[in-house]
């Protein structure tokens, strides 16, 4: 659904922070101009990046509790999947995902 952002061109990687600077099972906010991105570090040390805005009422997803591969919006508990960006039923909607890579403990993000 978010294929618009997964362009064919070589992505430009932005160096963000060290992996250790994201709390495990927690998140950090990354701002790029007007765009706010939620960066999550899961228990297996993988990092996911999605738009920091719940499709419901614009809740800051970065503050949500991570549950499995989902994050629960702190405002009304909508459940957003970190891999697909999709909102779990019975609600519906989706958020933009962003590619992430980790090299030598450094986290990079492509916008």
């Amino acid at each position: 659904m978010s294929s618009a952002h997964e362009s064919i061109q070589t992505p430009t990687w932005h160096s963000i922070c060290k992996l250790d600077e994201i709390p495990r099972s927690g998140g950090r906010t990354v701002n790029a101009g007007a765009l706010s991105i939620a960066l999550f570090r899961l228990t297996d040390d993988s990092v996911k990046a999605i738009e920091n805005r719940c499709p419901h009422k614009n809740g800051p997803l970065v503050e949500g509790v991570i549950s499995g591969g989902d994050v629960l919006c702190p405002l009304h508990n909508w459940r957003v999947n970190l891999d697909s960006g999709e909102v779990a039923a019975p609600e519906s909607g989706c958020v933009t995902r962003f590619p992430v890579k980790i090299e030598d403990g450094q986290v990079f993000l492509s916008l």
Binding site: H14, P23, T29, V30, N58, P60, V65, S67, P74, N77
Partner: protein, 816 residues
């Protein structure tokens, strides 16, 4: 290699047991099910509504064939098992199919009893038990006109009603004088009879059938008094007999049914279990659905090796499922001679209610016409609730009785279909009822998953339970024992016990050791974090990632993603310098809204996340915990220092208590109030812990609530000194911390645990009072610390020492 589990029987109780087993451990068994009927599992209790035309057979199928396939269950429909070979651990079906087992479940249900009078085997004589019977009755109604039903019990009346609906004449023959005499007393039975006669049903009571007459097909009945009745269809509905022949033949001990222990194992062979109507537990073979579901759950616990649960028998209630006729009965409704009975009889209005009491507790209840309070009374009966104070108004609607509003279990049956039950998600009563009936739901959790009702604020949870009860026709409420969430099968108490005995001090550790199904969710992770901190105050660390946003950020997230900051104003008592400082901070950080909160404090609203630490630092005030499951405010009136009515110095006591109880996490938020005189300006009687100054001492009121459900406090005790108030407050709140379930406020906790038991531990027994207060002190000395100070210190630390990284936003400057 998986173990092989085979089940004989494909009915409600058995399949429920399989569902529970799959829920507990989906990969443990290879499952095979044999069913004698040619249908998948259907809701047998809904056969009467099918016959009466209120629903259809398709609608009462509980598990479609696809369900069996989805769960890798081998299903043999229409195959009757003829032999169990316990020595070889295998079973053989009538068509020769064999299946080996490691564990076997016998769930063969029951057979209808056919009275062996001469002529009982004629064509047109049948029972009312399964879909085939239903079909036969549909067919008969097309050809024949006159039906007779032997048996004036629940099933007989429902069958007769169905036959009337199909256009037949229906006469019910009953051997007793009173209809439904197992469930109703004489007045209620009379009223029921009059009502059903009004619907066209005919009766012959106190009548014994001696012969079924006719040629090949039934043509009539002869009775003991010499009279006769013409009929061309005869339904026998005189009870059921546990179907235990198969078990008996292979040497399993049977009495009235297949005898099982408290874990639903047959007492003869531990590899063989039995559940449902065929099983006899502690001398009772149940014929209603609710106990069978409890049995199913117990069986699943045992067979999947959790072994923590034993079945101790059930108390049952009955509701007749005939549209427009409301009958409810439970317990010992007759009462022994000389019993304490309250009755109400309104012949014109068609309402009869009778409650049998013993020692101010409800022992039994029978109701006709207005049964709205039936489930409430049934609940009170099971809880052994003391109703002495309610007795004068008991029969005039329990919903008018003060505290019952909290659990909401008395309003649902009186509600119209389109009434909104769940205000958060806009779910109507009809939505809930439809979901229960169509999806075969039996628990509140399932209802929530299906309809979202009670999924948000939870204020309607009690109502959902009530709708479940009134819809299913039996008081099936199991929320007490429900697991914490879908990630585990353990309930709150079991998890606490495990954390204690296994000395688990980290959330992740608990989930590993106790076999959590997933990585935890927003329900269980905060609960585990709380329990660990409560049980191991000195040996555990708070797990920030297991806290919801508010408690993680130590501020309240607002709808636009900014935060509110509310510092402590102990006892609502402030001074000029503090106010000036707050004003300056508000200006410096461009805080638009400054509001006096409902709890006598000052809130700064619209603080940006990145400003939080600086705001706290500049305020130089303690954190007010206005966001957390912690002590919120201690509301006070001005008291004897200023007020001309004041009898006690409420402000000083309030300030002292707030300072003493600050920085503690609780199962849910806690609010206190101290009023200086009985005028109670601080509204102490709707607080978790309220104190009211009286001449010569203090009155302590507990378990109140001013939120979704208003609950007035109950009087805990009267004490003379402020020191006693402090110690009792600490003991009460520590007792709540230890036995409260996460997210359970004081009010429902107090109702659940009982004021008397609380009083014994925190007031009467001085040793336990002191021990509780001391344990709270251990926590205060250990984990309790001001979160804002911690954060400010972290902000000042060197970058590599910083641990609160989630507070800091990263900015990407160059964007192409």
């Amino acid at each position: 290699m998986k173990k092989k589990l085979v089940m004989i029987g494909n009915g409600m109780a058995g399949v429920r047991a399989i569902e529970e087993i799959l829920k507990a451990n989906p990969d443990m068994f290879d499952i095979t099910i044999f069913g004698a009927e040619k249908y998948p599992n259907y809701n047998r209790i809904m056969l009467s509504p099918v016959l009466a035309g209120d629903t259809t057979i398709e609608d009462i199928i509980l598990n479609e064939e696809q369900w069996y396939a989805d769960n890798n269950i081998t299903l043999h429909m229409g195959k009757r098992i003829t032999e169990i070979q316990r020595g070889h651990k295998k079973i053989i079906a009538d068509d020769g199919t064999e299946a080996e087992y490691d564990n076997l479940i016998i769930a063969t249900g029951s057979n209808p009893f056919i009275i062996p009078v001469p002529g009982h085997d004629k064509e047109g004589v049948m029972a009312f038990r399964d879909i085939d019977d239903c079909d036969a009755m549909f067919a008969a109604a097309k050809k024949y006109k006159k039906a007779a039903v032997i048996g004036g019990g629940l099933l007989g009346l429902e069958a007769a009603k169905g036959l009337l609906h199909l256009g037949m004449e229906a006469t019910v023959i009953h051997d007793q004088a009173t209809l439904m005499n197992m469930q109703l007393d004489t007045p209620a039975g009379e009223m029921l009879r009059a009502d059903l006669e009004g619907q066209g049903m005919q009766f012959k009571v106190s009548t014994l059938t001696t012969e079924v007459t006719g040629g090949d097909r039934v043509e009539g009945l002869k009775f003991k008094d010499g009279s006769t009745l013409d009929c061309d269809l005869l339904i026998m509905a005189v009870g059921i007999r546990p179907n235990m022949a198969l078990a008996e033949e292979c040497g399993i001990y049977c009495n009235r049914g297949i005898v099982v222990n408290d874990y639903m194992q047959t007492i003869t062979d531990p590899a063989i279990y039995s559940v449902g109507e065929c099983a006899e537990h502690r001398g009772v073979a149940y014929g209603l659905v609710a106990p069978l579901f409890e049995q199913a759950k117990t069986l699943a616990y045992m067979i999947t090796g959790q072994g923590l649960k034993s079945y101790e028998g059930s108390v049952v209630s009955t509701k007749l499922k005939i549209a427009g006729v409301d009958v409810f009965s439970a317990g010992d409704f007759m009462g022994t001679p000389g019993a304490d009975i309250i009755e109400l009889m309104d012949k014109v209005g068609g309402v009869y209610k009778k409650i049998v009491l013993e020692d101010d507790r409800i022992k039994g209840v029978v109701m006709f016409g207005d049964t709205a309070d039936g489930p409430t009374f049934f609940q009170w009966m099971q809880d052994a609730k003391d109703v002495s104070e309610l007795r004068s108004t008991l029969l005039f609607s329990a919903s008018g009785l003060g505290d019952s509003g909290h659990s909401g279990i008395d309003q649902a049956s009186a509600m119209a279909d389109d009434t909104i039950v769940c205000g958060c998600n806009g779910v109507t009563k009809k939505d809930v009822v439809d979901a229960i009936v169509k999806e075969g739901l039996t628990t509140r959790k399932e209802v929530t998953a299906c309809t979202k009702a009670a999924g948000s604020c939870g204020g309607c949870a009690g109502l959902i339970d009530q709708i479940l009860v009134s819809t299913l026709g039996t008081a099936f409420v199991e929320s007490e024992h429900e697991p914490i969430c879908g990630c585990t099968d353990l309930n709150h108490e079991q998890v606490k016990e495990q954390i204690k005995t296994k000395k688990l001090t980290m959330v992740r550790e608990v989930m590993n050791v106790l076999d959590w199904k997933e990585e935890g969710c927003q329900v269980c992770r905060p609960a585990l974090n709380y329990y660990i901190g409560m049980i191991w105050p000195a040996d555990s660390e708070d797990d920030r990632t297991s806290r919801i946003a508010n408690e993680k950020m130590h501020a309240n997230i607002q709808k636009d993603g900014t935060y509110s900051v509310i510092p402590r104003v102990y006892g609502g008592d402030t001074d000029a310098d503090t106010l000036i400082r707050m004003g300056e901070v508000a200006k410096k950080y461009d805080i638009k809204t400054i509001k006096i909160t409902g709890g006598q404090r000052i809130g700064l609203y619209g603080v940006k996340k990145d400003d939080l630490a600086a705001v706290w630092s500049d305020l130089d005030m303690p954190c007010g915990y206005a966001y957390g499951k912690a002590l919120r405010t201690v509301k006070t009136c001005v008291g004897s220092e200023w007020c001309r009515f004041g009898t006690q110095d409420s402000t000083s006591l309030g300030i002292h208590l707030e300072k003493e109880l600050d920085r503690i996490w609780f199962p849910a938020k806690v609010k206190l109030a101290v009023s200086g005189c009985p005028r109670n300006c601080a509204e102490a009687t709707i607080k978790d812990f309220g104190i009211i100054g009286v001449d010569g001492g203090w009155e302590i009121q507990t378990g109140g609530n001013g939120g979704v459900h208003v609950v007035a406090t109950e009087l805990l005790c009267l004490v003379e000194t402020a020191e006693e108030v402090e110690q009792i407050a600490k003991a009460y709140l520590q007792h709540y911390r230890e036995t409260g379930r996460h997210n359970e406020r004081c009010a429902p906790w107090q109702q659940r645990v009982g004021l008397d038991s609380i009083k014994a531990l925190v007031v009467d027994d001085l040793e336990s009072r002191k021990a509780l207060a001391d344990r709270l002190q251990v926590y205060l000395d250990g984990q309790a610390r001001d979160p804002w100070l911690e954060r400010i210190a972290d902000e000042a630390a060197l970058p590599e020492k910083k641990i609160f990284n989630e507070y800091r936003t990263i900015e990407i400057k160059e964007i192409n």
